[in-house]
């Protein structure tokens, strides 16, 4: 009896990433995602929920962030820790960070979306376009003429 009541209190949701890995996640964590919430409301609660747009390594990251975010609600130190981890990832591996943002956006996790967007904005703040290109690995695909035209059009912002 005791074990059944225990299992209902922390229900486990099973999810499958795009590369076929199966995850077991506590309901409270999974429901942070509005996408999963909607899917569960539309029934597939007892089946494995497929996440065709998220790979396993990225999904690991998302879950980790979700758990930490839940913990940090009243904890300033946890907040700082999570923030510095996010910034670290952004600096060392901007590709993975963009994948994380994409996954968070797809899974529709509002709180994490706001956080990751804010970190990225803070990261970009005060940096020159050239530096941003370098850091985020953005290829400049303008012709010199086009570039000059853009500069000319909004000269005030570049001075």
């Amino acid at each position: 009896m005791a074990s059944t009541s225990n299992s209902t209190s922390s229900k486990i949701i099973t999810l499958r990433s795009s590369d076929g890995e199966v995850f077991e996640v506590e309901e409270s964590v999974a429901l942070e995602s509005n996408l999963i919430r909607r899917m569960m409301e539309d029934d597939c609660a007892n089946n494995i929920i497929p996440l065709p747009n998220v790979t396993a390594p990225i999904f690991y990251l998302v879950i980790e962030h979700c758990k930490k975010h839940a913990e940090m609600k009243d904890n300033k130190e946890k907040k700082k820790e999570l923030r510095s981890q996010g910034e670290e990832l952004l600096k060392s591996d901007p590709h993975t960070y963009s994948n994380l943002m994409e996954a968070v956006n797809y899974l529709d996790i509002k709180s994490l979306m706001d956080l990751t967007a804010q970190w990225l904005a803070d990261f970009l703040k005060g940096k020159s376009p050239r530096l941003i290109r370098e850091l985020l690995k953005i290829k400049n695909d303008f012709t010199p003429e086009e570039e000059a035209e853009i500069l000319e059009r909004n000269r005030w912002a570049f001075d």
């Binding site: 590369d19 963009s98 967007a117 703040k125 376009p129 985020l136 690995k137 400049n140 912002a157």
Partner: protein
Amino acid sequence: MSKQRLLDDGDPYSNLGEDLWSSILSLLPVHEAVRTSILSRTWRNAWMQIPHLNICFITMCEQLKWDYNTDSEKWRHVVGKILTSHTGHIQSCIIDPCGSNTNRRCLDGWISILIEKSISELTLKFNHYLSKRSTFRTYRVPHCLFSCKSLRSLELSGCFLRAKTDLSFGCNKLRVMKLDWNRISLKFLHALLHQCSSLETLEVIKCSLGGFDRKESILSINAPHLKVLHITGSHDMSQNIAWKLVLINAPRLKRLDLGMLNFKESHITARELEIFNGFMRGFYDGQINLKYEALKMEAILNSIANVKALMLHLPNSNECLSAGSFQIPTFMKLKELMISLDWTEERGVIFLVSMLRRCPYLAVLILRGRRESKLSLGFDYWEKQERFNCFNHTLRRVTIEWKSNYEIEFAKYVLAKAKVLKHLTICRMSSQPLEEEVLASLPLVERASRNAKLTIRG
């Protein structure tokens, strides 16, 4: 495999999509968002979609190292350009032209553009004390703004709002309106309250209200739909308005805040009122004394007797408060009470005693002392009082901001008598040296509630 694919994709941030990018860009200062147009083709137009715009003259001058005195025109030009190049939906916009010499026509133009872009939250800040020209003080908000169908929230400061005879409000989604340091005609206010049926929150802070009879000075507010009303003071260039009579008729009102408003008499009809905050300062009649007559006070308390939370700021010289002269109604639903009172006179304390008697289900009590007491109301004074009902069953949290020992005596009484108390907090507000022995005696009091926790701050 698929990780490899992602890494090969080149520019990963282009995959995030325009919506996501424009919301990230709106977290940057506008000029930095505009600068991202040079990054690559995918970024070229991203900034033109940003949903939130914050355009402040002074901030922009600081960030771009512009000159406040000479670059005003440049700023105007840039703002016009930003607004006209924007191709998306502007959800919220803050415009703060303080310090620039932006003229009325220019502002009207920007507002029209924002209306076209289906703006839903607009803030216009004209802090007149920062602007060189007094035109801002009287910037007449164009009436077309009040026909904007997409508008949900409007915050204005330093504007002039008046009603033409044919003013009709088309902003039928407007929910929140905050007016700070504006000149408003009462006619405008009345038209707004009657016509905007979706308006739920109205804040009128330090505004100068015109268009009423100064001899009569009656403030009458009829708000059939309003849920939150907040009127704080009234600022007038020439004089403070002291209302003789404040009439409020708002059947759906949940929260009423009349802080800093001087009035002699009020009639409040708000059956659903849950929270009342009043600065019972009384009517300024030319003398220094701000008298509040007992009968008027009684009428106010009677009209709000159904509230769940009550915040009362009592007059300095508790003159109106002699308990014998008026009857406090029983507050059957009151759970939270905050009283800021003057402990220098016994009348204030007697008022507190009567309130505690009349609030049988009080759970939270906050006391703010305003002056250091010279009364000698010791523990025995409180012992002599008959037991308060709320002390037996409901009072769980008490916070006392203390300035003198007599408040500590009351705190001791609370500890000794409140049977279900969970938390007593003492915040020291006095600048005088700490009287350690008084404070030290507090934890020694035998507590009526086993779970009572004591916190001393300051």
